[in-house]
């Protein structure tokens, strides 16, 4: 088991290194001349060169990559071009706010989609199943800003139930903050509902068709006991993995939702960095998303191993 976990950890580190290379490529190799990009086409060449020197982007690429990565390892995420201040002083508060929004979405979507998926599976082929499946599929493929806009029009402007923006006035109490976060969380919930419900449905159907469920039914257990003790225990296991992999997706969807609802989280930080061509900020923000995703999948795999006796025993060999 320890061997398996170590292997898994090594794989994550390898992926992380590759990811940092890709981000470095997009953030520091492809843009070519950051000084020119910041100062514009009419600035003097000498000014551009001086700025490039200050930013350190006239050094060889290997040196730049090394100083970027070793900086990150030591907790230095670089200096924002735009604000001339450490990226970390913007990134961590923004990440905290994003996680708050993501948590609201998560708390809503997990029970909702599991109940939906299991209900669809128990009514396989009937109307309930078809409605849940088609709705889930349609919702999970509708971009967040589209559903967000429809929600704003209906609930914030039409019915006036909820506020249009996501940020509560400073110093407001927790329930008020929560009220402001509900509308922005719903587009994320809608996107994820389809995926998770689909997996929960597939897992439940697989369990329902298994021999042990047939045995349990034939030995006379009531259906509710069969479902609770034999079906759900087995069907929800793969669902856990899917839920965790969707955490990264959730954080990615924040770019759109936070832009639409004007919420100062990680997503809006990335969006603003992109429009300002603030590459250090952009790189750090995207790397943060990648790390959150990799951590979430790692936790999911470990959890899956710990919860599933078959894999746990196999891994112990």
């Amino acid at each position: 088991m320890t061997g398996y976990l170590l292997r898994r950890l090594g794989l994550t580190v390898l992926t992380l290194i590759l990811l940092s290379l890709i981000i470095f490529l997009a953030g520091q190799v492809l843009p070519g001349n950051p000084g020119r990009a910041i100062l514009g086409p009419f600035a003097a060449q000498s000014a551009v060169e001086a700025l490039n020197h200050t930013l350190g982007v006239d050094r060889p690429l290997a040196v730049q990559y090394w100083s970027w990565v070793s900086g990150i390892v030591h907790g230095d995420l670089g200096t924002s071009y735009q604000f001339r201040a450490p990226v970390s002083s913007f990134l961590f508060p923004a990440l905290g706010r994003s996680l708050k929004l993501a948590a609201v979405a998560f708390v809503l979507v997990v029970p909702l989609s599991i109940v939906g998926g299991v209900a669809a599976a128990l009514n396989r082929g009937r109307l309930v199943d078809r409605v849940i499946s088609v709705t889930g599929l349609s919702l999970s493929t509708t971009p967040e800003f589209v559903s967000g806009v429809v929600l704003i029009v209906v609930f914030a402007i039409g019915l006036k139930w909820l506020p249009v923006t996501a940020s509560a006035p400073p110093g407001s109490a927790f329930p008020t903050q929560l009220r402001y976060l509900i509308l922005p969380a719903i587009p994320l919930v809608l996107i994820l509902f389809g995926y998770i419900a689909r997996m929960a449905r597939a897992g439940t159907i697989e369990a329902l068709d298994s021999d042990y469920v047939r045995t349990a039914t034939l030995k006379g257990l009531p259906r509710s006991v069969v479902i609770r003790r034999h079906v759900l225990r087995n069907s929800l296991l793969p669902t856990i993995t899917v839920i965790a992999t969707q955490v990264g997706y959730l954080i990615g969807g924040l770019v759109i939702v936070e832009t639409l609802f004007n919420y100062p989280g990680l997503g809006r930080l990335i969006f603003t960095a992109a429009t300002d061509k603030d590459f250090p900020m952009l790189e750090a923000g995207v790397l943060a998303i990648g790390i959150v995703y990799l951590l979430a999948t790692l936790v999911a795999d470990v959890l899956y191993t710990v919860l599933n006796p078959r894999i746990r025993l196999q891994a112990a060999d």
């Binding site: 990811l19 009937r126 078809r130 499946s133 349609s138 509708t142 806009v149 899917v242 990264g248 995207v286």
Partner: protein, 326 residues
């Protein structure tokens, strides 16, 4: 990994498209293939899609309500994309600057935007660019991804390992973020948009194709081809490719839906389709700040257009998947 699991035949909703159990003759038709192949659903049933879609499959499709609804919607947007500019009521690009922010009325069914442009006309013409970009990106992704997946699955070894690691790393970010980052770096244009989305999709498609190829490569017909001394390229593209056409077809329709999703989202963020080309995502980005002022029609109608197109493609794709992979 989640992607692969979603491709699991179990994960597709059987009740969704067929409207009931398969007719017995359809089952019988696919049975010999399954036993001969020994790999079950995906690879076996797919022999059929190679050049001729079976009449029974087509009939199954035409009987399923989600498929028909999706197809009609999709055809409507294709017509708008091709012929839209000939039947729009107003000029979609140059508005009447005096008649701005007009609410929907008999003259302007969907109202006008802040530059006095007719929203209905822009919604109709807006189908064009997004469909072109999404289609080309998906075609590029399917072509490159299929070739890559065949090589990875057939040769295994180093290529497979290296590309596999890179795919994992790229996919630890949401596709929209990857595409966004590269478009910011190189600057947005239609060509880079197609290239970036196409290449990211190629990685995902390569993974699906690789999995399908792995199921094929140890079969007898491959061994026979090797004994005949066929070249690796011949075996990959002539022997294996037709047998993995099914997963590729399904992957194509799924990716097309995501391409629309991605293009629309990137346009909304300002790094997709560039003005003055009429585009739904761009229009929403330009008008959503006026939502609070009550000009909801400028944002809502393009949003509904995107939603209907994405849903249409997914209804069609999902129905095809349910019929083809079984």
């Amino acid at each position: 990994m989640a992607d692969e699991e979603l491709r699991d035949p179990l994960a597709t909703a059987p009740g969704m498209s067929s409207g009931g159990p398969l007719p017995p003759h359809d089952l019988a038709a696919s049975l010999p293939l399954v036993t001969a192949g020994g790999t079950g659903g995906a690879a076996g049933a797919l022999d059929e899609s190679v050049g001729r879609i079976r009449r029974e499959q087509l009939r199954l499709l035409l009987r399923s309500a989600p498929f028909i609804v999706g197809l009609v919607l999709l055809l409507w947007w294709v017509v708008c994309a091709i012929f839209g500019r000939f039947f729009v009521p107003y000029n979609p690009v140059n508005g009447n600057l005096i008649q701005f922010n007009l609410a929907p009325s008999g003259a302007h069914w969907f109202g006008t935007d802040s530059l006095g442009r007719d929203v209905l006309s822009r919604v109709i013409v807006g189908a064009r660019e997004i469909l072109i970009v999404a289609l080309l990106a998906t075609v590029l992704g399917a072509a490159v991804g299929t070739a890559l997946g065949l090589v990875m699955g057939y040769f295994r070894g180093l290529v497979d390992n290296v590309v596999g690691r890179i795919v994992d790393a790229v996919l630890s970010l949401p596709i929209v973020i990857v595409a966004f980052m590269f478009l910011v770096a190189v600057g947005p244009s239609t060509q880079t948009l197609i290239l970036v989305i196409g290449l990211v999709f190629a990685l995902i498609i390569a993974r699906t194709v690789r999995t399908a190829v792995l199921q094929e490569r140890d079969m007898d017909y491959i061994a026979a081809a090797r004994l005949r001394d066929e070249s690796a390229a011949h075996i990959m593209f002539v022997e294996i490719l037709p047998n993995v056409a099914g997963p590729i077809l399904v992957e194509f329709t799924v990716r097309l839906g995501y391409a629309i999703f991605t293009v629309a989202t990137l346009s909304f963020l300002g790094f997709g389709i560039q003005p003055p080309t009429p585009d739904w995502g761009t229009d929403i980005a330009n008008s959503y700040q006026y939502l609070a002022a009550g000009y909801w029609w400028e944002t809502l109608f393009p949003a509904l257009a995107i939603a209907s197109l994405v849903v249409a493609i997914n209804l069609v794709g999902d129905s095809i998947e349910a019929v083809v992979i079984r």
